[in-house]
Symmetry: C2
């Protein structure tokens, strides 16, 4: 049950001042995490992004594709591709927007929710693995700070 995780030894170059650049730290941790996450999701035929779309489709928030694009920092055309794939596999459906008939609301199917449940477990395990070197409190604090940096003081 070894933590075949991210943390190698501190590389020589981490000593440089750039080792404290938030941009680089985010890039590296994100890159390493993506590898782990995509590996964890491969069993389900999902990737990080399709998992995100599926999760939001399962959330009950009834997101429109535009909202998905904004929230996931993607181009609207990329969302089309992701939803096309999930829809073809019967995991989500496009429903007509309620107030706005231009918009399409993405909702999960029963099969989609089943799939999401399993994928969610794998993702949680991957996250735990990636942050294994942090204590529980530290992980929580890291997430809180990331959320705050993104969306402000909202609690």
């Amino acid at each position: 049950m070894a933590t075949l995780g991210t943390e190698v030894q501190t590389p020589r170059l981490a000593a440089a001042r750039i080792g404290s650049d938030v941009g680089l730290l985010l890039a590296k941790l994100h890159a390493a995490g993506s590898v782990l996450n995509n590996k964890a999701l491969a069993d389900f035929g999902l990737r990080e992004r399709s998992f995100s779309v599926l999760t939001l489709a399962c959330s009950g928030l009834e997101p429109t594709q535009r909202e998905l694009a904004d929230f996931l920092s993607l181009d609207p055309s990329q969302v089309v591709t992701l939803v096309d794939d999930l829809e073809r596999r019967g995991l989500v459906e496009r429903a007509q927007g309620k107030q706005d008939r231009r918009a399409k609301i993405i909702v999960s199917t029963a099969e989609g929710r089943r799939m999401h449940g399993k994928a969610r477990s794998a993702m949680d395990a991957a996250e735990l693995n990636q942050l294994a070197v942090l204590s529980g409190e530290e992980s929580q604090e890291l997430k809180r700070l990331l959320r705050k940096a993104l969306w402000g003081a909202a609690e």
Copy 2:
């Protein structure tokens, strides 16, 4: 002097459980930061990555291209392109490796160091801007946690 920064209002979808996924938080903050950073570096004809290479070339650590690739999570061929560009502009030079003559050590020129100084200021400002909503202590703590997640407990 408004902080025309990252923080919009908390979007509706952030309420979903995925709003606490480390993968998504990293992706979003990294994406937002990259935009800011690249904007800040555009004046110098640099981008996030060429800035990273230039920084490490200026660090005195005499990194090889292989080390740069590992440290920056890039394919070695991508490093070739980055160094080619910086070398063509006279900001860095390729020196022969000391023990290993296969390796090339990337070192900065005087002009490179001058350029880096200016770019560094712009980057610091951009980082300050991106993390404006965090207190000084919070920013430090965020960086510490990111470093720890990446490289372990090393202090």
